[in-house]
């Protein structure tokens, strides 16, 4: 079948004045603007576009649209492009996929010689044993898989997202869909009309009937003048709960693709019908095409699909004989399926049809046009919970009982003349608009704070549409020979019968066993034939066999579209510009960009230990608590006691879940009579806030406590080191900083560097004398710079997260989430003095009470024998030379202060005694000896530096 370009057609969508040049497998070709990649290639005489998945048989055009399984190509670095849909562009580099070494000469076609070995379940059966060989099998098999090449060096291209809340979304812009959109819009609804193809009109676009062309022109004109928003080359890919719709827009002027998330009050489903192939011997030979493909090729792109055709038709719509004759194709025979005539097979080379055998008689032809019936693409209805039912009389599925917010129209819901379909569409649009009003009213009424709802809710509009009739259609699925059913997965009718014989005769099992319906056309072409052949095997009808459930997406969605525009907000402290100007290396911690270090974390530690260091700890979670019942709240949330915390005092506490597992920790200080400041870990700030609210709102709504998150309202700076008192004294004048006047674990309100409204407390995460200053965020930079300036002669220097982590590890302070995990109960931290079971009630108390009888792992300090060996965090602690796990290293660093490696770890309780010897299994496989320390603190266990 050599296709060629025809003279101008009245319905064509190509612009012959604009020639586009492109390459196909390295050779130069040209087409016109408006051509698809496939139509341009077909017009240039190309017959073979791909090789089939398993047998590598040459494949040509089948449906000439988005669903054509034979037209998957690589365009530039873009794999799996649908050449039946993608518009031609100047300079495109198009290549065939799934061929090796070339499309013309494909070595893997040898598979077709051993076709009987590649029957259903072949891979499952063959590559199961021996299991240890599976990695090798997988590598070889994946090289045989279909699909193009992904170039990981491709630059990112822009993808976009949009959110919208239309009253009515109409999926499909054929005549019924357009009428539905127009009627709904006229009734006052905001309407989004989404069309999969490049222009609206559905099947009217490739009709040569004068009346249909006139109707199409008028519909387009009315649509343009209306308020309906029309999206072409866009697909409603999914319908989810409450009409939450995913729509992929492929023709956005700037973005490669745009994912639209629409919350529609009503959804109208009008996708039309998809012509299905017919199963017979040689039905996948290039030259066998559907009637819609023939009419699209001729009328849209002016492509003559062949020279001498046989037309097999079982319906008026699919009778392409007139179009073919009009295009100068010699119609050798018209075989009427309604009268019991059958196609038996095609004959010819592997690359082209040379003859057609019909009713046992061979007819010479290079083209076979098949119109065997329709598949109803009910996907969106399935996603809405409907289970479409099969009607033998009409030989297709129909909607059964979709939810009230989803309406079907057009060919999906029945047959009729163009006028009848349009009338049904318009009635559907009016119904959708009326119901959208009720939904809008309901949403409005649900919003207590919304402005007054105008009047009572409108009555739910009853469905009084005149139903479309159903025309008789013969049940034509498979002829008396065997052929291809799933073109994209290379599954034939024999494979399905074999699967049924092996017991996989339920449709869901057969699908998974043979992979029929699981390829690139996703059932649009092959589902009904699959079910029909299974029905044949079971001696039942299609209705009894049932069908697979169509799930999202309706059409494939690229990962780029799902990821959308990169929108990852990060948080920075107000001091960030200083860090950046001073050589910071940042680290992303949750949403926060934080200073990790400024070049040499060990030097930062040494400076903080000997002079004074400052660190920006703004992300520290801060909750401002006000009210008389705060002590009750703290007693409930923390494991220790809070009733007697005096004004000006700070206390450390641990929070547990109801299961006794450590949730968070931090200090809380009492700033005033009824005013406390709670701090949480940086990563726990959000979770703890919601958790506190939950306890207050659901369990103790009677307590008078008001919680305000103030994490980013304050910039927080920790000043640590032996000279920190002198430094703080230079910027704080209104507080007595003497050890007696402002002791360890106390809090003071202060004016810092002239900034009023600050508070500071003396705590010691680093293990040195330290002050944590919390200043209104807008003044954070000023205070930081004042500290740097005032402490120049004291040797003040910044330190980052890494320095802080080293210092806290030297001091043996655990970090929730680093040294604890989702199973670490509070007693494992070794802070049992903070678990006050004599309190009658606190979160997690019962479990903690019972935990005494359990063998809980313990957090301990560990030092490897070899002072220069730092085991990776996560290394396991094992018993001797065995692999019996006794614990693991949870934190490890080289200590610049002690000049040796130090660790925290979790170990079995028997080992949690100072002096215990343990074996650490390194990532390299080597085992090293280490000793459990008697105290968590590797450095200054007595805490003299801290309290001084």
């Amino acid at each position: 079948m050599a296709m060629s370009r025809l003279g101008q057609r009245p319905t064509e969508v190509i612009k012959r004045s604009v020639t586009l040049h492109f390459r196909w497998n390295g050779r130069s070709f040209s087409g016109f603007e408006g051509d698809t990649v496939a139509s341009a290639l077909a017009a240039s005489g190309q017959q073979v576009f791909s090789r089939s998945l398993k047998y590598h048989r040459p494949r040509g055009i089948l449906t000439a649209d988005y669903w054509d399984p034979n037209l998957m190509v690589q365009v530039g670095d873009d794999p799996n492009v649908r050449a039946g849909h993608r518009l031609l562009e100047e300079g495109m580099d198009v290549r065939a996929q799934n061929v090796w070494p070339s499309l013309r000469f494909d070595l893997k076609a040898a598979n077709s010689l051993v076709g009987r070995f590649l029957s259903a379940g072949f891979y499952y059966k063959t590559f199961m044993r021996p299991r240890w060989l599976w990695p090798s099998y997988e590598r070889v098999l994946s090289a045989f898989g279909p699909g193009g090449r992904v170039d990981i060096d491709s630059p990112d291209r822009y993808h976009d997202k949009r959110y919208t809340h239309p009253d009515v979304v109409v999926a499909g812009a054929g005549p019924a869909g357009i009428e539905a959109a127009l009627a709904a819009s006229k009734a006052g609804a905001r309407v989004l009309l989404v069309e999969h193809e490049h222009s609206v009109g559905g099947h009217l676009r490739y009709s040569t009937r004068a009346a249909e062309q006139v109707a199409l022109g008028k519909l387009r004109g009315t649509l343009e003048a209306s308020d309906v928003e029309v999206l072409t080359d866009s697909t409603v890919t999914g319908r989810y709960e409450d009409n939450w719709l995913g729509i992929v827009q492929r023709n956005h002027p700037i973005a490669v693709e745009r994912l639209i998330k629409a919350r529609a009050k009503m959804l109208v489903v009008a996708p039309g019908l998809i012509e299905r192939p017919y199963v017979f011997e040689g039905n996948d030979r290039p030259g066998v095409i559907t009637s819609a493909a023939a009419r699209r090729l001729i009328n849209l792109w002016g492509v003559k699909p062949g020279e001498r055709a046989v037309v097999f038709s079982a319906n008026d719509e699919g009778d392409a004989a007139a179009d073919l004759r009009d295009a100068g194709v010699d119609v050798a025979a018209v075989i009427d399926g309604r009268k019991g005539h059958r196609i038996n097979s095609t004959r010819g080379s592997r690359r082209a049809v040379e003859g057609v055998v019909a009713d046992g008689v061979r007819i010479d032809a290079d083209l076979l046009v098949v119109a065997a019936g329709w598949t109803a693409p009910t996907s969106l209805l399935n996603m809405a919970g409907d289970r479409p039912a099969y009607d033998r009389y009409a030989a297709r599925f129909f909607p059964s009982n979709p939810p009230d917010s989803v309406l079907a129209t057009g060919g999906l819901s029945g047959d009729g003349t163009l006028d009848e379909l349009r009338t049904h569409g318009a009635a559907t649009g009016r119904l959708a608009a009326a119901r959208a009003l009720s939904v809008a009213h309901r949403i409005q009424a649900r919003t207590a704070r919304a402005r007054a709802v105008g009047g009572p809710e409108p009555d739910w509009a009853a469905d009084d549409r005149l139903p479309l009739r159903r025309d008789f259609h013969p049940e034509l699925f498979r002829s008396d020979t065997h052929g291809m059913i799933d073109f994209s997965e290379d599954v034939g009718s024999k494979d399905l019968l074999a699967a049924a014989r092996e017991g996989y005769d339920s449709v869901e099992l057969a699908k998974r066993y043979t992979t029929a319906t699981m390829g690139s056309s996703q059932g649009k072409l092959e589902t009904v034939n699959t079910v029909a052949v299974l029905a044949e095997a079971r001696g039942e009808n299609i209705g009894e066999v049932g069908t697979t459930v169509w799930r999202p997406p309706y059409a494939p969605v690229s990962l780029g579209a799902l990821a959308g525009r990169v929108f990852e907000p990060v948080r920075v402290s107000p001091i960030q510009p200083w860090h950046e100007a001073n050589g910071v290396r940042t680290i992303l911690a949750g949403q926060w960009v934080r200073p990790d270090h400024y070049g040499d974390p060990a030097a930062e530690v040494r400076n903080a230990r000997s002079n004074v260091g400052i660190i920006d700890v703004t992300p520290l979670g801060k909750l401002d608590l006000r009210g008389p019942d705060i002590p009750k709240l703290l007693n409930l949330l923390y494991t220790n006691k809070w009733s007697n915390l005096a004004v000006g005092k700070v206390r450390y506490g641990m929070m547990c879940g109801e299961d006794g597992v450590v949730l968070d920790d931090g200090v809380t200080g009492r700033l005033g009579e009824d005013h406390y400041m709670m701090t949480t870990t940086s990563s726990g700030a959000g979770v703890v806030w919601e958790w506190v609210e939950n306890w207050l709102q659901t369990e103790r709504p009677d307590w008078r406590v008001h919680v305000t998150p103030v994490t980013s309202a304050y910039a927080s700076i920790n000043v640590a080191g032996p000279k920190s008192r002198r430094l703080v004294g230079r910027v704080v004048r209104d507080v007595d900083l003497s050890p007696e006047g402002f002791a360890y674990m106390e809090v003071r309100s202060a004016t810092v560097a002239g900034v009023a409204g600050c508070f500071m407390w003396r705590i010691g995460f680093t293990g040195d004398l330290s002050y944590e200053l919390h200043v209104p965020a807008g003044h954070g930079m000023h205070v930081w710079e004042a500290l740097i300036e005032a402490g120049a002669d004291l040797g003040v220097g910044p330190f980052g997260m890494e320095g802080q982590r080293i210092m806290r590890l030297e001091k043996g302070h655990f970090i929730v989430g680093q040294d604890t995990d989702g199973l670490t109960m509070a007693p494992s931290t070794g802070l049992s003095r903070l678990i006050r079971l004599d309190k009658e009630n606190f979160v997690g108390r019962p479990e903690l009470g019972w935990s005494g009888s359990r063998r809980l792992p313990m957090i301990v300090a560990i030092q490897p024998d070899h002072p220069q060996t730092v085991p990776d965090e996560g290394c396991q602690i094992v018993r001797g030379d065995t692999n019996e796990i006794l614990g693991r290293i949870t934190s490890s660093r080289m200590s610049p202060t002690l000049r040796r490696s130090i660790c925290l770890g979790q170990v079995e309780p028997e080992l949690a005694i100072g002096g215990s010897r343990v074996t650490v299994l390194l990532a390299s496989g080597d085992r090293i000896g280490a000793t459990v320390m008697g105290h968590h603190a590797h450095f200054d266990p007595a805490g003299e530096r801290l309290r001084g």
């Binding site: 709960e241 919350r263 649900r446 919003t447 609210e693 939950n694 009630n841 019962p846």
Partner: protein, 90 residues
């Protein structure tokens, strides 16, 4: 995505809220047996039908609230007032 009717903010995408799960009463920690406590921690009715559950309107009014949802149809209704004995696990 579910449209969850927040009593203050009106219907909101479920992604705007935190799902608190099946709501259940907290046993008295002073008297609960391990069996009762662990039932509270881990056992859920998980009915196919009306379920009382909690949601947190974290992007809106910041209220925790209870709703009844039919897990088979995702229909919502207000929870019964005290004393109202209509069906559904609570």
């Amino acid at each position: 995505m579910l449209l969850v009717p927040c009593p203050n903010c009106g219907p909101r995408n479920s992604a705007d809220l935190r799902y608190g799960g099946e709501s259940h009463a907290r046993p008295d920690p002073a008297t609960a047996s391990p069996h009762e406590w662990r039932a509270y921690l881990y056992l859920r009715h998980n009915p196919a039908g009306w379920l009382r559950e909690t949601w947190y309107c974290r992007s809106g009014c910041r209220r925790w609230f209870a709703l009844e949802r039919n897990t088979a149809t995702n229909e919502f209704r207000d929870p019964p007032l005290p004393g109202d004995k209509r069906g559904g696990a609570a």
